[in-house]
Symmetry: C2
């Protein structure tokens, strides 16, 4: 499945959030990751993130679609994620 | 169609980017908007954004899926967008 993850977490927890996201996804842009994951990998990612964030203050939203073929991605301006992350 | 928009733009252009995005989409989280748009609305949004950003420095990525039914949204921690923006 294809996962887009956006995070809005406190500065002091960002390094751990970034490190966890980087294990599973590609960095797209400031506070955005994306990538293809199995259901098991997605569960592992969200489980790991729950241990890292403060659920009363931080926010992480994931958008999951069955296949990357269902998503059209477009970039206006600079492509920060680099060619490796273009769908 | 369902649109997720993430922006990484210079601070001085953020107000115009935000104002343009708010015309068409709901704010989800820091630098993230989402919503349902017609193809015409999507074109109008991206055309307006192109006039606002500096294409050499700013970056806006849109993810478009045919229907919101194809997207599963999950929130870890705080739901910043408010109940009106939950799918």
């Amino acid at each position: 499945m294809f996962v887009i993850l956006v995070y809005d977490t406190a500065v002091e927890r960002n390094p751990k959030v970034l490190k966890t996201c980087r294990k599973y996804l590609h960095w797209t842009q400031r506070s955005v990751f994306q990538g293809e994951l199995s259901a098991a990998q997605y569960r592992a990612l969200t489980t790991a993130l729950r241990t890292v964030i403060d659920a009363d203050h931080d926010s992480i939203v994931t958008y999951v679609v069955r296949s990357p073929d269902l998503v059209e991605t477009a970039t206006l301006g600079v492509d920060l994620g680099g060619p490796g992350d273009i769908l």
